[in-house]
């Protein structure tokens, strides 16, 4: 489960990699060409965006499931 999700705007260069590969279309580039989470509720916490980001701009915390 997703605990926190943050995109450092100053580090993001708007390459679009995170947007292109998010399986649930959580992300989009905004008017300034920076990545932003537009549907965070759909995030499945796969972490692929944070792993692939060439600018290390995405950080997320995933809580361990308790069941």
């Amino acid at each position: 489960m997703l605990k926190s999700f943050c995109i450092k705007r100053e580090w993001c260069k708007g390459c679009g990699i995170c947007v292109a590969f998010c399986p649930t279309e959580v992300l989009a580039l905004d008017a300034q060409g920076k990545a932003t989470a537009v549907r965070l509720e759909a995030c499945i916490a796969c972490e692929q965006c944070a792993l692939r980001c060439p600018d290390l701009a995405i950080t997320m915390q995933i809580a361990e499931r308790e069941d």
Binding site: W11, G16, A20, L51, R52, P54, D55
Partner: protein, 271 residues
């Protein structure tokens, strides 16, 4: 986040272009190191010159930024004098296999415990898109306006033939795989080579009309298969990823220590 402590955040945003795969290599490398719980003090990263080589500026471990093609020579000195340290050498394709080709094959032949990364974008990124020994035939480059006629090295086959005892290939699309391979390469007691397919959207991508960074990553997804998969038999054009060789052979620093002991006792006998 836990990887923060391995980064020199004061130098961010970094110098690489939007979508440059070298940033993803940095991302995966610090995560691999973090999952191993290594102390910053036990890692030395040595690089040469190139966009790829700038990676040493961003990691907060011991770092040396040296000469184009010569990183492995400097790293050999570091490792021989302090064999207890983990020495990682990130290189560009030109750095490792054009100007640095001789250092590369001899480091492999000696089986010195160094982790060599070839950040392969098939181009000289830093100097404006000249072709490299990994560009391959029929690609456009600043120095090949009518396409290249030089076949490329197969980094895996070359490394195996030269004597490397851990040889792997991965891509910046398959990051979880890359983290796992990097971890194993760093732990390996011998010369390990990891070729990482890394897009340069600015030069290689643009001159060969491969689309943006995401398109280039899609190419890695479509054009590569896990090593030993049946798909490769049907389509030899596919590039294999994974670990090709992982074996034990006498390691250079250990052999050097033995010979030093022999020399010391011989000297002791004569005194």
């Amino acid at each position: 986040m836990a990887i923060d402590k391995y980064l020199r955040e004061r130098f961010f945003p970094h110098m690489w272009c939007a979508g440059c795969g070298h940033g993803t290599v940095l991302n995966a490398l610090v995560r691999a190191i973090e999952t191993m719980g290594m102390s910053r003090n036990e890692i030395v990263m040595v690089s040469g010159i190139g966009c790829s080589s700038r990676i040493t500026g961003y990691v907060d471990v011991h770092t040396l930024h040296t000469l184009h093609g010569r990183a492995l020579a400097f790293a050999t000195g570091v490792k021989l004098s302090k064999p207890e340290l983990n020495v990682i050498v990130p290189m560009g394709d030109g750095d490792a296999l054009a100007i640095g080709g001789n250092h590369f094959i001899h480091a492999a032949r000696r089986n010195i415990a160094i982790t060599a990364l070839v950040m392969n974008n098939r181009i000289y990124g830093m100097t404006g898109g000249q072709y490299s020994p990994l560009s391959g035939c029929e690609v456009l480059a600043a120095t090949a306006p009518y396409t290249t006629i030089d076949p490329s090295f197969d980094v895996v086959a070359l490394s195996v033939a030269a004597g490397a005892t851990f040889v792997a290939r991965c891509t910046t699309y398959h990051v979880k795989e890359m983290i796992d391979i990097l971890r194993q390469a760093i732990l390996h007691e011998g010369f390990s080579v990891v070729e990482i397919l890394s897009p340069c959207p600015t030069y290689f991508g643009r001159s060969n009309k491969l689309g943006d960074a995401a398109e280039m990553l899609r190419g890695f997804k479509e054009d590569t298969v896990p090593v030993g998969s049946a798909a490769k038999q049907k389509n030899p054009e596919l590039i294999e990823r994974g670990i090709f060789v992982q074996k034990e052979k006498p390691e250079y620093c250990a052999a050097y220590e033995k010979i030093m002991q022999k020399a010391r006792s011989a000297a002791g006998e004569t005194i």
